[in-house]
Subunit: 251 residues, 8 copies
C-alpha cells in the first residue's frame, strides 16, 4: 500500500495535479517499510534530521540485524543503543564494519565521519567516575549527530573546587550535559554558574535510597537553577540527542 | 462430597423435585475436583465459556502436569501461561502433542482448531518490536477462544504516519488491543481514531522511570480517549481474553 | 485555514478529482473550530459515535459556556463532567434547559432522549452505598449513549449472599460495570460468575492505605478473573463510555 | 555478668530478701547468653511460650550452627526460617537429626512431637497452588507450637463455589489463616462467612502491578470484613505464630 | 425474590423435604433487605456474632438514617463509624436515644448494655496522647461486642520505663491492642514482653515522612516480634473488632 | 565584607596588579546584598543573562516587598512567581506600576519592554483548556526574556487532527514547549513531527492516578521521541526560562 | 503505684539494703506521673539532659495545658512544638508568662535564660527565605538547650558565591544545621567544605515533584559528602536537639 | 593547570603580594590531580580531616587501581568501600599490603595505625546478627579515623532485656551508632535511654514490606526520640564517618 500511495502522489505530480513542494511534504510523512517485526522509518532523517536509532533492549539479535539491514542501505550513520556484548557479537558477525562500545552498550555503523554542523561545543560533565558509561553514550550520540563534544569527569559537589577550576570551559560551552547519580546536585551548581542550557541526566549510581537513580532524577527536576531540563535515568542517548538538537537551533 | 452433592441433585431431578433447568444451574456452579495441590474447576467452560487456564508461574512442573492431566480429559483446548522453557520441556515430555511458544511463554494443548465464533476481527497493535512477546500471548489466547485476529507491529507515536497508513484496518476492527511500553501513548492515539473499544496493555519495555511498565500503565489509565480500559502490565493473556469476551457480547 | 481545507476538498469533489467517499473520510478527521481557549471538535460524533464531552475540572465557567455554546448548536446531547455546583449554577443561568446532577457532578443538555441502540443491558453494580456517585456518573453516561442500563447497590463481598441473590441479573447483562473502593474485590467475584466483559472502576471510598482508591485499582488490575479491564479511579464516565462502546460492538 | 545477676537474685532469695515469685519474674526477663555474633535468648520459651526462632536470611551457616548449638541444648523444638538449601545442607551435616523442608525453606530440630495445647483447629486456606510454600511455612510453625492444623488449597475467588463447598470446615475452625497473592481478595470473602478471627497473609504470587505482594497486602488491609488482621508479605511463619497465639488465648 | 426464597425454604421444611438445621443454615446466608441505596444485612448478627456496622464516611445523613431505621428494629446495638459531628447531629435529631462520641467519631444506639462474653481482658495501649481518638474507637467497639476492656495511654518507647511500670497489666491481658503513630515501634516492644496476641494499629500521628501513618504501618508489618498482626491506619474499629473476635475464640 | 572584597579588587586594578578582564570575572561571582531574610543576588543578570526571579511561595508579602525593593533599583524587569492574589494585592499597594496575572500567579515589574534577542519563535502548545495557567506562566517568562512567543491551545491527542492542522507552525518554531496533564502523550507526538528541541511540562490536570501530574511527568520522561527534555510539574516558569536559554544559544 | 515504688526504694535505702548510687540509678528510670491522658516523664531532664518536650499536634489545648501544668512546676524551660496560633492563645490565657513564636509554631515557658554549656557555635544555614520557619524552630530549640547559635539565610546553590562569602563562619562552627527544600543540594556543598558534622533538614518548600520535602530528604540521604546525617522533613526541632546533643559530646 | 595555579600562589607569596595565611587558605581548596577518569582530591585530608575515600561500586578495578596509586603516595590510610571480592583480588595483586574485609566489602591500605584522637568511645549496636556487615563497615571506618570503637551485637527489641543488660556501656559512649533492619525500632529505644547523639543506620535486612531497608529508614526518621539522625540504608561507612566527626567536635 505504501508503494501505491507513492505512485498516486507521483502520478498526481506528473499530471500537474499536485505541486512539487506539496508532494515533498506528503512524502516526508508517509514513507516507511514494513518488514514484519518492524515498520522501518526511512524518512526519519529527512523529517527529524537524523535517521531512526534502534533501541536494542528487548529485541533479538535477529530482529536487530533485520532492521539494520534495511537502514544501513540508505543512511550514513546508524546507531543501536542498549545492546549487550552478546547480541553485539552476533550483529558484528553480520556487519563486520560496525563498531561496538562496551562501556556505552552502543553499536555504530558509520560510513564516513559526520560533518560538524552544530553551533558551538557541547560539554559533558559528570559527578563521579562511575557515571562514565552514561557520559560515553551521550558523547557517542552527540558526536554522531555532528557536534564538537568535550568531557569533564569526576567533578562532583563533595570537592566543588574541582568544578570551579574548569569554569572557563563551562562558560564557553553552548550546551552542557550534566550526569550525576546519588543526590544529583551537580546540575544545580553548574546551572547556577552559566547562561547556557543544561541537560541533566540522572544516573543509577548509588545504593539504598538512591532508588536506582530516582533520587537524582527528583533532585534535578526540583533544581533551583532554571536553565535545566531533565531526561530519563541513565538516558545518555537522549541527553546527547537533545543537546545536539539544541546546538542546531536555527541551523 | 462433591460427588454426594451431585448425587443429591440428580436424585432430586429423578424424583421430580428439581426441574432440569434448575439442576443445570446448580451444576454449573458446584463441580470441581480436589487433587490435593489444586481444586480443578471442570465446569468453568460451561460457566465462563472457556476452560480453566493454568497460571504456570510459581507452580512446579509436577503440579502443572497433574492439573493438565485432569483438564485435558474433558476440554478441547487447554492453555498454560507464564511457563518457562525448562518447565515446558518437562511438560512436553508427558504431553507430546502439546505446543510451546517461546516468545509468549505459553503452552497449548489443542485437540482441534476452535470454531470462529466472535463477531468481528480483533486487531492487536504494538508500539515497538520489543512488545512482540506480549502481543503473541494475546494473539494465542484470542485465537484459542474462537476469534479472527490480526496484528500490526511497531507503529509507535514517534513516527505516527506509520499508524495512519493502517487507518482502514483500525476502523474495521471490532475490538483493538494496543500494547505499548515506555510512555504508553499509543492507546490514546488509537482510541481517538476509532469507535471500537480499545484494550490497553502496558508492557515492561523501557528502563529507568519506565518502572517496568508502571509508567505505561499510568498513562493508559489517564488516557484522554474514553473508549479505553486497561489490564495489568505484560498481561497479554488478559487482554486477549477480555477482547474475546467483548467480541462475543450477545453471541 | 480549516475553512480553506474544506473548500479545497469540496472543489476537488466538484471537479471530479475526489470521490465522495474519500472526501467524507477526510472531512471526518479535519474539521474543528478554534475558539481561542479551545479547539472544538465538531466531527467527533461522526468519527467516534458520540460528540465531544467537556471535562469541567480546571476550566472556568466562562470557558465551559463558550465551548458549550459551540457544541450545543450541532449536537443532540452534550455532557460536562466533573463540574461542581458553583460552576454549574453559572452555566445553568446561560443554558436553562440544561440539567445538573449533584451526586454525579455532571451537567447534561439533551434535546431529545437518545434512541436505544446498544445490544443488551448494561448492569452497574457497586460494593457500598458510598460508591453511588461514581455509579451515577456511569449511569448517566451510558444512558446518554443509547443503552439500557440497570443498577445494583451495596452488594460487597463482606455479605456475599447479597450478590448471589442477583445472579440472574448478572448472567443476563451484556456488559457489567463494577465499582468498588477499599480492597476492590468485588469485580473478581463478579467476573468469576459470568461470561460477559466486566469494566472495573476503583472508587476513592476508604481511608488510610486505601490511598484514595489506589488499593482498589491495584486489586482490580491483578484480578484472577480474566474478563476484566480497568479504568481510572472514580472514572464513572469512562466506565460508562467504555461499556457503551462494548455494547455497540458490530452495531 | 548474666551469671552474676543470677547469683545475686538467688542469694537474695536465699536470704529471704526476695520472694520466690519476684525472683521468677526477674529471671524471666534477664537471662541470655552472649556468643559474640548473637545474644541467645534462653528464657524466651518461658516468657513467650515458645523458644527463640532463628531468622536464617542474612546469617552465615556458621552463625546459624553456633546459635543452634546453644538453643538445641535447652529446647524441645528449634526452628530456622528462611534458610536456603545450600545453608541447610551445611547445618544438616552438623545436626543430622534436623529436618529440612524445601518448599517452606524451614529447618526444624524436634526432640519429640509437641503436645496439642491449642483450643481448636487452625485452618489454613490459600487462593492458588502457587501459594503453597507460604502455607507450608505457616503449617510447620503452627504445628510445632502445639496446634491441630488443617489446610485447604486453591480455592480462590475466580471459582468461588470451590470455597463454598468447604463452608463447614470454615465454620468449625477456631482461627483461619488465608494466604493469597494477586488481588488478595480471598480473606475478605472468607472473613465475611465466619465468626472466627482471620489472619491474612499476602503472598508475592503475581506479576506487574502485583508488586511482589504489595497489592495483595493493601487489599487485605482494606478489607470490608472486620475480623481480619494482616502480617507481612510471604510471612507464613508469622501467620502460623500469630494463629497459635490466638488459639492459646486464656490457655 | 428474597421473600420467595424464604417461602420456598419454609415450605420445603413444612413438607419435610428440608431438615430444620439445613434450613437454618440457608437462612443464615440468604436474608437481607433491599432499601434502594443499600442491601441491609439482617442476618449478619447470626452469621458473624455482631450486627452490620454502618461505615459513615461517604454516606449522606439521609442514607445513614434510612439504614439505621432498618437495623435498629432488630438489633440491640448498632454502631455508625467515621461519622462527623454535622452528620451525627442530623442523625441524633431522628434517633434522640443515640449517643455520639466526638473523639472517636462514632455513633451508637444501645438498647441495653451488652453482656460480657469474652474470655479475658482486652488491653488497649497507645504511644502518645495524640493517639487517643483511635484508642477510643477501639474501646467503644470492643466494649459493644461484650468484652472487658482497659486502656493505658502515652507509654511510647522514648520513655520506655513508663511501659515497664505496667508490666503486670500487660501480662494479664488476653489480647492487647497497641496504637502508635510516628515510627510505630511500640507493638514490637510490647509483643516482645508478652505471650498474648497483639493487634497493632498504626495511627496517622506524625508529619513529614510519617506519611499519615504509612511509616508506622510498615514498621508494624516488619516487627521482629511474631505475635503481632496489623490493621489499617487509624482503624480503631477494626482493631477492637478483631480483638473481640480473638477474645471469643472457642466461646 | 562584600564591600571590602570589592574595594580590594578595585584597588588591585588601580595598582595594575589585576587586569580589568580578571576583575570583571571576579565581580561577576562575588556581588550580593544581605538584607537579613535574603541574600539578594545583584549580579545574576550579568552572570546568567536574566536577573534573580523571586519564588513567591512560602514567603510573606513583607519579604517579597523587601527583596523587590532591592532588585527593582537595578533591573529592567523583575518577576515574582507563584504569588497568590492576596499577597499580590499587598505588593501592588507598594509597587503600583507592577502587573499581576491571575491565571499565571505571576507578578511583573517591567520598566520597558525587553528587546527581542532570541533566534526564532518559541511555540507553546497545550493539550487542553485546563492547562492554560501553566502555558501563561511560560509565555510571560519567555516574553520577559526577549523572545518572540506564540501559543496553540487544546490540541490533545484524543483529536489529533487538530494538532496536524498546525503542522506548519510546529515546523517553523525554533523551540517548542508542550504542556499536558493526564497521560502526557502530546510531547511524544509533537516531538516525532519536528526537528526542534521540545521542552515538556507536565501539568497537574487530571484526577485519580494522574497523581497531580506525576503520570504525565513519567510519560514525558519515557518518551520514544528523543528531542525532549522535561521540567517539574506545573513549572511553566522553568519551561519558559529553559526555552529562552535554548533560543539564545550562541547569541 | 509510682509512689509505692518510690517508697520501697527509699525504705530499702533507709534499711541499708540498697546503696545510694543504685537507688539513684533506679529513680532515674522509674519516675513519671500518670495524669490520665498522658504519662508525664518527670525524670527525663535527669536522664536525657533536657525535660520532656510537648508535641502539640493532635493534642487538644486542654491536654497541653494539663501536661504543661505538671512539667512547669519542676522545670526551668518547657517547650511545646507544632502548636498553632489558636491553641497557643488558649494556652497563653492560662500561662501568661509563656511566649509564642508564630513562624516556628513553638511555645516556650522559660523561668530564666539557660546557661551556655555547649562546646562551640551551632550555625544554622538555609537555602532560601521560605525555609525560615524551620530554621527558627531549630534556633529556638538549640538556644533553649544552652548553645550559642548563629543563622545564615538564603545561600542556596543557584548563587553559590553567596555561600562562599561566609566560608569563615562555616569553618568556625562546631556543628552546622542546613535546611533546604526543592532539590536539597545545599548540605552536600556545605558538607564538602567543612570538617564539622552537618545535620541536614529537608523542608517542604517546593511544588510538584518536591513531594512536600521528600525529594530534598532523599537527596540529603544520598549526599556524596559523608559528614552528614538527616532528620525528618521540616523537623527543625529535631535538628536543633541533635545539634545540641553533638555540641555537648563529652561535656 | 593545577601546577600553574600553585606556582602563581607561591610566587605571589614570594613577592610579598600574598600573606602566608591567605595562601594556605587558597591551597586548601584548589589542589587536585586530573587523571582522566577522575579528579583526585589531594587536599581533602587537609580540608576535611580525612583523605578522599574511593567509592568502589560502578568503578572498574583498573580505575580503582589508578586512583589508589595516586592517593597512596600522600596518605597514611586509604579506604575503598563497596568493592566486591573479585575486584578486590585484582587490587590486592597490585597492592599486596592492602587488606580486604569480606563482610564489610571494604579494602584498606594503612601505613601505620592511626592515633586515637576522638573524645570518647563510639559504641556500635545492632539489632540482629544479619546486620553485622553494616556494623563492620562502620567499625572499620571509625577506627581508621582515629576513634576508640566498641560493638554490641543482636540486642533487638523483641528481647529488650538483652539491651538493658548493657545499659552502662550505652551511657558511657560519647556517640552511639545503631544499625537495624526490619521495623528499625532499636534507635528509638536506645535514643530514649541516653543523652549522647545516636546515628541510626537502616539495614536492608528483612523481606516483603521491609522494602530493602526503606521501612527501617522511615521508622528511624520518625523516631519519637530526638537525639537521632539518620544515614542512607546500609551506609555503615557514612555512619562511622559521621560518628567520628561528632567524636572530634572541637578537637
Amino acid at each position: 500500500m505504501n508503494f501505491e500511495t507513492l505512485s498516486n502522489i507521483l502520478s498526481m505530480v506528473a499530471d500537474g495535479k499536485l505541486a512539487v513542494g506539496q508532494a515533498a511534504d506528503q512524502l516526508k510523512h508517509l514513507s516507511f517499510e514494513d518488514i514484519g517485526c518492524a515498520h522501518v522509518d526511512h524518512h526519519r532523517a529527512l523529517r527529524k534530521g537524523f535517521p531512526e536509532v534502534i533501541f536494542g533492549q528487548g529485541k533479538t539479535s535477529e530482529q536487530i540485524i533485520a532492521i539494520l539491514g534495511k537502514l544501513e542501505k540508505s543512511e550514513n550513520i546508524v546507531l543501536v543503543t542498549r545492546i549487550d556484548r552478546e547480541k553485539a557479537d552476533h550483529v558484528l558477525s553480520q556487519f563486520p564494519h560496525a563498531q561496538y562500545f562496551d562501556d556505552a552498550h552502543l553499536l555504530k555503523i558509520e560510513k564516513q565521519p559526520p560533518a560538524i554542523t552544530g553551533r558551538g561545543t557541547i560539554l559533558i560533565v559528570c559527578a563521579g567516575t562511575s557515571d562514565i558509561p552514561v557520559v560515553m553514550e551521550a558523547y557517542l550520540t552527540a558526536t554522531a549527530m555532528g557536534n564538537q563534544v568535550k568531557t569533564l569527569f569526576d567533578v562532583g559537589v563533595a570537592g566543588i573546587h574541582r568544578l570551579f577550576a574548569h569554569q572557563k570551559e563551562l562558560e564557553q560551552a553552548s550546551v552542557i550535559i550534566v550526569a550525576a547519580g546519588m543526590e544529583g546536585a551537580l546540575p544545580s551548581v553548574v546551572g547556577g554558574l552559566v547562561k547556557a542550557p543544561v541537560i541533566a541526566v540522572p544516573t543509577s549510581v548509588g545504593y539504598g535510597t538512591s532508588f536506582n537513580g530516582l533520587t537524582a532524577l527528583l533532585g534535578m527536576l526540583n533544581s533551583c537553577s532554571s536553565n535545566i531540563a531533565v531526561v530519563n535515568i541513565d538516558n545518555g542517548f537522549g541527553a546527547g540527542y537533545m543537546a545536539s538538537t539544541i546546538n542546531h537551533v536555527g541551523v
